[in-house]
Subunit: 334 residues, 2 copies
């Protein structure tokens, strides 16, 4: 059922059957390390290049998720997949052998929010019995794509985030899951004119604020009815801005806000500065940490809001600003 | 209603309310020149860079389509947009000011098929009353993205296609349209191991053959019941391969096949070699040439099958093959 300007409340809420996460060694050594399904020893996943390694992360996450779900492969009707690389090649090569009918999506680091939204829409409308959502990012492939080759050893300012090496896959279905997607609010592009590719938190926070506000307006909901409001990869810089912006709009989320980018690393010990980022950041945190807490009913209802910064190396070099987008997914315990 | 493994037949078929097309001067001088809504004089759309020009093409196409549709902007619930540039920046900057809740998609040159599929699913399920589909490509931004800077003046083999400078936007709704989307078949990734970035037709033809065959199987339909089977940008090289591959699978489409890449340029006079290509190619041909023939009922039923080659400059330089994908959309006269 449509709600407000850009939200949907699902009458038959799709179920999240299970999730699987595959990460690199740095993520494995972080605070969530013991929760991931697979930790690679060197982040290359046995491949020759970082890009191939990222595809391999997706492939392994998808295979693990489908295995865990016990859903026969031929009943998974669609895969929704995306990543940060130019022309989404991590997904193309990662999902190639899987053979699922594929909708490629691009929402920068908000991609897990976008894939979950579209897969939920497909399942709730009975277009699919089961669907797969997959996203990934890789520190080394992203640095090469957006900033400097890692060998160059450039200095990272404190506002910079560390791209997570990881992929998560979720199997969604019509019943028998561990949590339910009860509603979505689709993001629009918000541009505050940020031009610093080392401060993505500031570029994305206004988009997160916009989507979260519209969610509460569309659903006529109150902040306290949500156990957590979880953004993707704002980091400590973006978190401050988000909480400020929300206060200006009349919402105090300070006690309920959590950011996957802040949770995934120990910033001080791991030298990750403002936090983790990348499509993989919110995705692996959802699969390994958030979903189990919903399954255990520690949390009853959360708003999962991955945030994306819409830039490319070319747009950055041509002096364009960095607009943001954020897609909100309301997930509830069964 | 689900059909077969990867198709949907819509019980309440979404309507295409209207389409609008905006192209560059070369396309304007081609065989379809007089059909486009707007032809730019120099392909820069008054912008400083080719990338900004491409965003401007999208913006103008979207504005024209919404204007022509006479649908109030606030009733257009979602935009589905994508392009060929790294991180889909043509869409991000092109759709930014429009302010629609946005699903960014990536399907390379199959993107118009993917946006039409997703928008149709959203409308048929009553998630949206109206939705907008937008895609674009630009010769100069694509050459820089995938091959050589155009100033370099590299020699183009005869298998090469010419990326169309153009964008089209379609407004879809629940009624009162000029044609109906009655079914879709979603593509999967098909890789025949082609490694030549100057022969995209050969890379995409197997994906087109796969999707078209699955469409006819899923719908238990016969070739003669379709007036045309229209691929996106296979060009003359890919067309031959497609017809051969289809024959091997027991389908003779030779008398009904049309390729937008072949239609859009006069290859001999315009020196475009194998034909046109790019997200914009099938999109502007659909909006300007195909839809009016469906509106006039010259054609009753067509299968629109844009084809995408899933490569990036990095994947190509790293020696990866070029897999393809194709999304089929069945469009019928009202």
């Amino acid at each position: 059922m449509r709600k407000g300007r850009a939200s949907i409340e699902f009458e038959h809420a799709p179920h999240i059957i299970c999730g699987a996460s595959v990460v690199g060694p740095k993520e494995g050594a972080g605070p969530l390390g013991c929760l991931f399904d697979f930790v690679d020893t060197d982040g290359k996943m046995g491949q020759k290049s970082w890009e191939e390694a990222e595809s391999q992360l997706q492939k392994k996450a998808a295979e693990l998720a489908v295995q865990k779900s016990a859903v026969p492969r031929n009943r998974i009707r669609y895969a929704f997949a995306g990543d940060l690389l130019g022309q989404c090649v991590a997904s193309s090569y990662g999902m190639e052998e899987e053979g699922y009918p594929l909708f490629g999506v691009y929402g920068a680091c908000s991609t897990m929010g976008e894939t979950l939204s579209l897969a939920s829409m497909a399942i709730a409308a009975d277009y699919a019995e089961y669907a797969l959502c997959v996203t990934s990012s890789h520190f080394a492939s992203a640095e090469r794509q957006f900033r400097f080759p890692s060998d160059y050893g450039n200095q990272r300012p404190f506002s910079a985030t560390w791209t997570v090496t990881g992929s998560a896959a979720l199997v969604l279905g019509q019943e028998n899951g561990i949590a339910r997607v009860t509603g979505i609010t689709t993001g629009r592009i918000i541009d505050y004119g940020v031009r610093d590719s080392m401060n993505m938190g500031a570029a994305m926070a206004p988009a997160a604020a916009d989507t979260i506000c519209r969610h509460f307006q569309d659903f006529e909901a109150e902040i306290p009815s949500y156990d957590k409001i979880i953004t993707g990869d704002l980091g400590v810089v973006g978190q401050k801005i988000l909480i400020e912006l929300m206060k200006e709009k009349g919402y105090d989320i300070s006690s309920r806000h959590m950011d996957c980018g802040i949770e995934i690393f120990n910033a001080e010990q791991q030298d990750t500065h403002a936090g983790g980022s990348g499509c993989g950041c919110s995705a692996v945190t959802l699969a390994s940490y958030i979903l189990p807490l919903l399954e255990k009913k520690t949390w009853k209802k959360i708003l999962f809001v991955p945030t994306g910064a819409l830039l490319s190396k070319i747009s950055f070099n041509e002096g364009q600003s960095v607009p943001g987008i954020a897609h909100a997914v309301r997930i509830e315990a069964i």
